[in-house]
Subunit: 196 residues, 2 copies
DNA sequence: TAGATACAGAACAGGTTGTCCGTTATCGGA
DNA sequence: TCCGATAACGGACAACCTGTTCTGTATCTA
């Protein structure tokens, strides 16, 4: 990659992150980013088609970091088979913590939802092999709920409670979620419903 | 309320809902809504300051319906003290099912997130008194997770799995969530984490 | 060094936004 | 039924944002 391209791309990312701490994603215009990065209009559009593409690229940058070593571990040490689900969760939390400076800005306004949506896509792959469905519960529902709950845990953690350690958060998550994960036993209450 | 105002407001709501089935919330412009509703530009702005306000108003309309009888029951029959949490959950699901036609459109694109955010605000009030925190887990975390999981359950249900009954969904939800809700027993796995 | 390529800067048309105002139609109380 | 109030119309407006195009300049790489 051309050094000039790298420089410009960094300028845009930096400007975008800086702006996210001052205003919401929706209220931010491409013009704002151009002004903040101090680059030409056509230069921005040479790198990203839209503002959404920029956000997506930033998210991808972060997740590639968070999940790349994850995958590395998996390949090199057969991580998926010998490490517990809880270890992997903790591992992911560690990497998210490293990137928390970038991530915290992303929680402003609506793009927090977009960030979480992308996060869930990555998480689905990791969670899928670990979710064991108890009888009668649809597998995709359990997976959806497990992933969403973890994403919500990350949001809660990095948005005002980042003092907790990754291990602590993993413990909270496992304590509050049943999801038929091995090691957690949940018993349903089968009392018949009585709608008003 | 003036009959003309009511009529215009309905025209706007109807147009907005109709458009939501054809295009995403973000890609929709105020101009589109005006054209669809066939009203004057200034008329729209006399009713709603922005597109976001319109969305908020529509959500409020729905939630007022979903939770008003909820509150009614609570007041008239002392619902909160004699009915189980599960009954209330089922009850809410019933009302959401009634409104599913309006709600399904709201899940298109990004406004699904906004809808769910508002839903969570309402749910917090209902859930708060029912969440019993087990030792060491922060109360607001447990509440956040319980509410988010339920909101996610609603999304999953109305977005492709609406064939299930409210009772069935309540059962799934309770089966997959620990949350220290009375009637569900969860045991945490306290095995020490071993990050890669 | 030379050709390729990224950037700057300016300009453009097309669209959206929010506001204004004079006119017309409709409503609701007397 | 009448009349004052008010909601809607519709046309116009400036300001802004968008995405594209162009030319000249600076920088990179082979």
């Amino acid at each position: 990659m051309d050094r000039r391209q790298r420089r410009t791309r960094n300028l845009i990312f930096t400007a975008f992150s800086a702006l996210l701490e001052r205003k919401t994603y929706t209220s931010m215009t491409v013009q704002d980013i151009i002004d903040e990065a101090d680059i030409g209009r056509s230069t921005f559009y040479a790198h990203f088609e839209t503002k959404d593409e920029l956000l997506k690229a930033l998210c991808t940058d972060i997740f590639d970091h968070v999940f790349s070593e994850e995958i590395l571990c998996e390949e090199k040490h057969d991580f998926s088979h010998h490490s517990s689900f809880r270890d992997r969760i903790t591992h992911i939390l560690y990497h998210l913590q490293e990137k928390q400076q970038s991530i915290r800005g992303l929680f402003s306004g609506e793009c927090g939802e977009i960030f979480l949506r992308y996060l869930k896509e990555y998480l689905c792959q990791v969670f899928d092999e670990h979710i064991t469905v108890s009888e009668n519960v649809p597998h995709d529902y359990a997976l959806d709920l497990a992933v969403s709950s973890f994403a919500e845990t990350v949001r809660w953690w990095l948005k005002g409670h980042s003092a907790y350690s990754p291990e602590q958060m993993a413990a909270y998550y496992f304590q509050c979620s049943a999801f038929c994960i091995p090691g957690i036993i949940a018993r349903g209450d089968d009392k018949a419903a009585d709608p008003c």
